[in-house]
Point group: C2
Chain length 149, copies 2
DNA sequence: ATGTATGCAAAACATTTGCACCTGG
DNA sequence: CCAGGTGCAAATGTTTTGCATACAT
């Protein structure tokens, strides 16, 4: 895939920081990254991109729909490439891993409930916190990973 | 109800700041308050209680299950008295109002989905963002407030 | 060229913490 | 009296912003 084209399509000028940040998001083994995570990955790639720029770029990406920003518990935001369909998240409190899932019934009920009370639903976030099976038994996370992350 | 007793039952010494903060949470017309909100309410009551104390007390209350802390979008936490059963939230992006709802089907599906992938669900947060009907029409919020529907 | 993007440092917030003092039981 | 609670100020951690410089078109 051509990241430069993605940027142009989104109406953003193609610059080194933007291209590299997009690259990090696309290639990272973990899908959900904080601004700091992205910043560190860039440093590892010997790129001197300021943390402020990382924040600015991620916020722009969010604005044009390239990434999704999550506010998981604990204050800091995490960003995820918006390249697959909508899904919700499970967060393991033991290993910190983030799993994705999608449930048609839950999605439908949300629309239904909204309609019943006259609420125009635009967006939602569902985070389920718990412990993945692997942590309970072997002490390491073995829950089947869905997609990257 | 007797707030002093609530504190004692929770294993917390009954002090003026704690009693007053509990009082604010119980009597506020809006159920969901940030630490700053609580702090301001206290000032209005001519109580000189430091913001740091408000944070400490709210965190203790959360620890003993007297309040629930939410991380809605936008960084700051909001606190809600934990005096009714579990429910989820709808947030109006126009008027800022917070509505509560409960849907058995959604709750059940969450458990089901968790079980299917071997996830021990401990907690969850579902926030639905949108616009309440009143805002769309009259410009003011008129959605019927449903406490656990 | 020229308007936009970036880097750096400083600012802005939300929240926490250290410490001396005060308070409730 | 004494452990624990509180106030204040300073520290933290995250995200934003001002401004001079660098860059893409």
């Amino acid at each position: 895939m051509n990241t430069a084209a993605d940027l142009k399509k989104a109406g953003l000028k193609s610059t080194v920081p933007r291209l590299k940040i997009l690259e990090v998001l696309e290639s990272a083994p973990v899908r959900h990254l904080s601004a700091e995570d992205v910043y560190k990955k860039l440093l590892e790639m010997d790129l001197e991109i300021g943390l402020a720029t990382v924040y600015r770029v991620l916020t722009q990406f969010e604005g044009v729909g390239l990434v999704i920003r999550h506010s998981f518990e604990g204050g800091r935001s995490v960003f995820e490439l918006d390249d697959e369909g909508h899904h919700d998240h499970m967060l393991c409190l033991e290993c910190g891993e983030v799993f994705e899932f999608f449930d048609k019934v839950i999605e439908e009920r949300q629309k239904q409930v909204s309609k019943e009370v006259g609420f125009v639903l635009e967006d939602h976030s569902l985070y389920m916190y718990g412990v993945c099976e692997g942590m309970k038994t072997s002490g390491k996370c073995s829950m089947k990973k869905k997609k990257r992350g």
